[in-house]
């Protein structure tokens, strides 16, 4: 994901701002890291360049 996405994303649970933590970056694309809610502290993982912003209770209950 590109850092500019931060302007339009928010925590899916409480709609507060997210803080970006980068583990791995390639040019200006963030490949691995997490988005952490500045209010509730929930961390949303970024893997293979894709942020997973599903609410925590939906992360695991999904078809195979």
């Amino acid at each position: 994901m590109q850092e500019e996405l931060m302007d339009i994303l928010c925590c899916p649970v409480d709609k507060h701002e997210l803080e970006l933590e980068v583990d791995d970056r390639e040019d200006d694309e963030i490949l691995t890291g997490r988005l952490v809610c500045t209010e509730c502290g929930e961390a949303y993982p970024i893997e293979d360049g894709i942020p997973n912003l599903l609410p925590p209770d939906m992360r695991d209950e999904a078809p195979a």
């Binding site: 590109q2 302007d7 339009i8 899916p12 894709i50």
Partner: protein, 198 residues
């Protein structure tokens, strides 16, 4: 004995990701007429990324895709679309988008016959066909700019008037931007705007 799927089908992930069909085409063609190069666009349930790519290529707008399905997210990203895994519109800020496009799962499905995999999630709109579009319409006005536009595909099997009623009750105006008749259904693209935006 199980047979391995052919490698190409596996790469394209055609069994777990909805591939472009008539509805996709109609929505993509209708959206590009209205999108301007300066717009920020969200393609909800982007699937293969076909609509998002088409809109980005034809208009030069900045297009983001989102999907619940992780396989779709990967496929859309491989097609060059920035993508977010999301449930409906929940992780997007108020007023974030000039244009929102959505080709929702809309087929009415008997709960006893649901098959519980990603392709079902891409097709089934629950018992009345409106289980996915209802919560979307309830949250749409929040993420649209005050003069924003949304384009949503609806089928006659889902009930076009019922969907328009739900949109109106959520503070949106509705009109038919395009339609196309097929043997078993009429496909309609609804153009939705925040009521009072002129």
């Amino acid at each position: 004995m199980t047979k391995d799927p052919p490698p190409l089908a596996d790469q394209r992930d055609t069994e777990r990701v909805y591939q472009p069909a008539e509805d996709t085409q109609l929505l993509a063609e209708t959206a590009v007429i209205h999108v301007e190069s300066s717009d920020r666009v969200l393609d909800v349930g982007t699937g293969s990324g076909f609509i998002a790519s088409h809109v980005a290529d034809e208009t030069g707008a900045s297009v983001l895709g989102s999907d619940l399905n992780p396989h779709a997210c990967r496929q859309a990203r491989a097609a060059g679309i920035p993508v977010v895994r999301a449930d409906q519109l929940t992780p997007f800020r108020d007023g974030a988008f000039d244009v929102v496009v959505f080709n929702p799962p809309y087929l009415p499905t008997d709960p006893d016959k649901e098959w519980d995999d990603w392709m079902e999630a891409a097709l089934s709109g629950g018992q009345d066909g409106r289980e996915v579009i209802e919560p979307f319409l309830a949250d749409l006005r929040r993420v649209l700019a005050s003069d924003g536009d949304a384009f949503v595909l609806v089928s006659s099997v889902t009930g076009v008037d019922a969907v328009r009623d739900i949109a109106r009750s959520n503070g949106l105006t509705t009109m038919e931007a395009a339609d196309e008749s097929h043997p078993y259904e009429r496909l309609v693209v609804l153009h939705l705007r925040p009521a009072g935006s002129g």
